[in-house]
Symmetry: none
Subunit: 407 residues, 2 copies
C-alpha cells in the first residue's frame, strides 16, 4: 500500500459505497441464487454498462465475521488489523470506543459464597430477561461511574449479556488489553482474577478486579444475576484513518450500531438521521452530499434474512434496494460501488467464504460483459475475482484520485 | 497461514483429492486439448453442477516438477518447502527416507587410475543396462551395509542411475546435507571429494568419502562401472504434517513410489494394495473409508503419455477415469476435488506452466457455469484462477472444517 500513499491525489469527485450485508448467495430455489431470483430491472440495467467482478473478503475459503468483512472493503488488510471481541460487542451496542479505552464483553451470572470463595452457579444467571438486565445496569450505572479516575460505561445486550468500556485518562499503549478472561467457562468453579500480562495490562487489570468487586457488592442481595463475568478484553486497534491513507473525507450512513462503530474505527464521520429505511438513508446522503467525498451506505437486512435461511425475504430486500437505486443514481456520484461485506447464503444460514458480487459504475469501464448483477454474471465481468482490500484502489482510480505510478 | 491454524476445526467429513498427473493440455488435434477430445459424459455431467477453476502450481510461467506440483495441491507453499533431488530420486525408487537420512543420486561411472589420481573416463559407464546395474548394486549391498554405525541403502535406477540413503543413528540437524556434488560433470577430470560446509555436513561427508572409497575397492576389478559419482545430497525438509496443520487424517492411494513418497513427506499414511489399476485404487478407497478423512488418489498415466507426446493415449486415460468416476461418486464424499499436479501438454512432450483444471464438488457451490471439465470451460468457473497452495483452504471450507474468522 506504500505505492498508493505515494500516488494519492485529491479532487472533487464523489464516491458512494453501498454495502448490502451478506449479499452473495448460493442456489436456493430452481437452481437460482437470491440475486438471480430477485426481480431487479434497475440493477440489471446498471450491470450492463458497469464493471463487474467478485471480491474475496479475506482469503480463499475464509468466512469473515463482520469486522474483517468491512475492513476489507474499506481498504484495510483484515488480517493485519484485527478487531477484538470486546470492541466489536461495544460497537454493536452503540457505545463509543476510543484509544483511551478497554472494552470487554460480560455476562450477568449467579454465584454463591462459600467462606472466602466465590462459586459460579449459573454462568448466565438463568438467562434473565433483557428488561431485568437493563434494570440492573441502571443500578450499577448510578452507583459506579468511576474507579481511580477511570470512567466506567456499561450497556445492556440481549438477556444476560452486556458490554463495558473502561475509559482511562490518556491513550493506552499497545498490549494494555493483554488480560485473561475472568469467566471460568464452567459452572461450580471460581471466577478467575483478571491478570495483566505486562505492566500496562496490570494497571488495567487492577481496575477491572476492583470493578468486579464493587459490582458484586452492589448486587450481593440479589438471588440471581449477582455477579459479572468478563471476557474478550480489547483495545482500539491502531488503524490509520481513511483520510490519512487515502486523502478522502468519508462518512457513514448506517442504522445498525455495529457498522457505525466499524466505520468510526477507520475514521468515518457517523451521520445521525431519523428513520431506519433506505429512503431515509438516501435523504441523508443528499443532505450531506457537499460535506464529504466518500459515502458508506450500509443495508443490514439482506444478511439477517440470509442468516435466518429466509431466502424469500432476502430476495425482497434486494428488490427493495433495486427500487431505490434510481434515486441514488440521480445524485450522480462519480463512482458508485454496490457489493457486500461477505456472502450469507440462505442455504447455509450463515456467513460464508464465497466471493461477493461487485458492481462498479464510472465513466471508465468496459461494460457489456454481463446482463445482470448476479454471482454468475459477475464471474464474466472485467474486474475478475480480487481481494476485497484492493477495492479501494479501484474506487480511487475510477475517481481520478490516483496519479500515474513511475515515469 | 496463521489464519488457517486459528480457525481449523474437526468434524466427520470425508474429502477426496483425485490427481490425474499432468492433466492440463493444449490444443493438439482440431484445435482441441486432450480433455476436449476425450469423451467424458460423467465428468461433463459433474462439471455442470460443480465449482470449476484452474490452479497455478507455483507461479505464472513456472513449470513445476512433481515435488512442487504435489506440495502445492497438498496445501504447502512449494517455494518455502523444497525437496532435494536426492530425496526425490530415492522416493521415486521406492526407498524410505526419514529425518535421520541423507539421500543422494548416483551414477555408475568408469574411471582409470593414474598413480594416486582417479580420472573419470565415462560419467555414465557406457550407459550400462539396468540389469547390469542391478547386479552391481547386489554385490555392493552384500559387502557394504554400514559405515561407522551409518546404515547404507542402495537402489538401482534406469541404466547407470542409482540412489543411496545414508541412515544415521539420530535425526540430522538442518544443513547436514550442505555438501558439494562429487560428480565433476566433465570427463577427463578427477571426481570431487565430498566436503561438508558446516560441522554437521562434515560428519556426513566423511561417511560419504569412505563410502566412495569402499565402493571403488569393491568394483576395482571391473572394466567399466568401477566407480560411483554422487550429486544432490539432501535431507528431509522439515515439513509439518497435514494432520498438524489441518487437523485431518490423510492417506495416499497411489501405485508409483514417487507419489507415495511425496505423500509420506506431508505425513499421509501410505495404503498398501494389490493391483495397479484405478479399480484397485477405488476398492482400496472403500476398504479404508472409515479410517481416514482425506484421501489422495494418484493416477500416473495421463502424465506419462503426455510426456511421450501420445495424445491419443492420454485421451484414453482420461476416458478410463471418466468410466470409473461413478464408483467414486457412489462413495458420497463430502468434498471431491479432481485436478492435476501440473499440465503435461502432449504438444510439448513435457511438464508445463499452464494452469491446471480444477473441479470441486460439494453442496455449497454455485455450479451451472460450465458444460464440461476442460481448460476452456474451467476458465468460466466460479473458482477463477488461483494458487495451488490455496486449494486446501477451499477443500476445508467446503467440508465445514474452517470456523468464521473474526467477529
Amino acid at each position: 500500500m506504500d505505492v498508493i500513499s505515494n500516488i494519492i491525489k485529491k479532487n472533487n469527485t464523489k464516491i458512494i459505497l453501498v454495502v448490502l450485508d451478506g449479499l452473495g448467495g448460493l442456489p436456493v430455489k430452481d437452481g437460482k441464487t437470491e440475486l438471480e431470483l430477485a426481480h431487479t430491472p434497475n440493477l440489471d440495467n446498471l450491470a450492463k454498462s458497469s464493471a463487474l467482478g467478485l471480491h474475496i473478503p479475506v482469503d480463499l475459503g475464509i468466512t469473515p465475521g463482520s469486522g474483517p468483512g468491512h475492513l476489507g472493503i474499506f481498504g484495510y488488510d483484515p488480517v493485519s488489523y484485527s478487531i477484538g471481541r470486546g470492541i466489536l460487542e461495544a460497537l454493536g451496542l452503540g457505545m463509543e470506543v476510543k484509544n483511551t479505552d478497554i472494552a470487554v464483553r460480560g455476562n450477568f451470572a449467579t454465584v454463591t459464597y462459600e467462606g472466602e470463595k466465590v462459586i459460579v452457579k449459573d454462568r448466565r444467571a438463568g438467562r434473565i430477561s433483557t428488561d431485568e438486565n437493563r434494570e440492573i445496569v441502571g443500578v450499577i450505572r448510578e452507583r459506579l461511574r468511576e474507579i481511580d479516575g477511570v470512567k466506567i460505561f456499561i450497556e445492556s445486550g440481549i438477556e444476560h449479556r452486556l458490554a463495558i468500556v473502561f475509559r482511562f485518562p490518556e491513550p493506552l499503549p499497545e498490549g494494555s488489553d493483554d488480560i485473561n478472561d475472568t469467566d471460568p467457562q464452567v459452572e461450580g468453579a471460581e471466577p478467575f482474577i483478571a491478570i495483566g500480562r505486562n505492566p500496562n495490562a496490570e494497571r488495567v487489570a487492577r481496575i477491572v478486579n476492583e470493578f468486579i468487586k464493587r459490582v458484586s457488592e452492589i448486587l450481593k442481595e440479589r438471588e440471581r444475576a449477582n455477579y459479572i463475568l468478563l471476557r474478550g478484553f480489547s483495545q482500539m486497534p491502531g488503524i490509520p484513518t481513511m483520510e490519512e491513507r487515502f486523502s478522502i473525507k468519508p462518512c457513514c450512513i448506517a442504522t445498525y450500531p455495529m457498522y457505525r462503530g466499524l466505520a468510526s474505527l477507520v475514521g468515518m464521520d457517523i451521520i445521525e438521521f431519523e428513520g431506519e429505511d433506505l429512503k431515509s438513508q438516501i435523504d441523508t446522503l443528499k443532505r450531506v452530499w457537499e460535506d464529504y467525498d466518500y459515502f458508506f451506505i450500509h443495508i443490514k437486512k439482506t444478511d439477517s434474512y440470509g442468516e435466518d435461511g429466509n431466502w424469500e425475504k432476502k430476495v425482497e430486500k434486494i428488490e427493495e434496494f433495486d427500487r431505490e437505486l434510481p434515486s441514488i443514481l440521480d445524485i450522480k456520484p462519480d463512482v458508485l460501488v454496490i457489493t457486500g461485506d461477505h456472502s450469507t447464503p440462505s442455504l447455509m444460514k450463515g456467513h460464508s467464504w464465497h466471493p461477493v458480487p461487485v458492481l462498479l459504475k464510472s465513466p471508465y469501464v468496459l461494460g457489456g460483459t454481463s446482463s445482470r448483477f448476479t454471482e454468475r454474471e459477475c464471474l464474466k465481468g472485467e474486474l475478475g475475482i480480487f481481494e476485497a482490500k484492493k477495492l479501494i484502489q479501484l474506487m480511487l482510480a475510477h475517481a481520478g484520485r490516483l496519479k500515474k505510478y513511475g515515469a
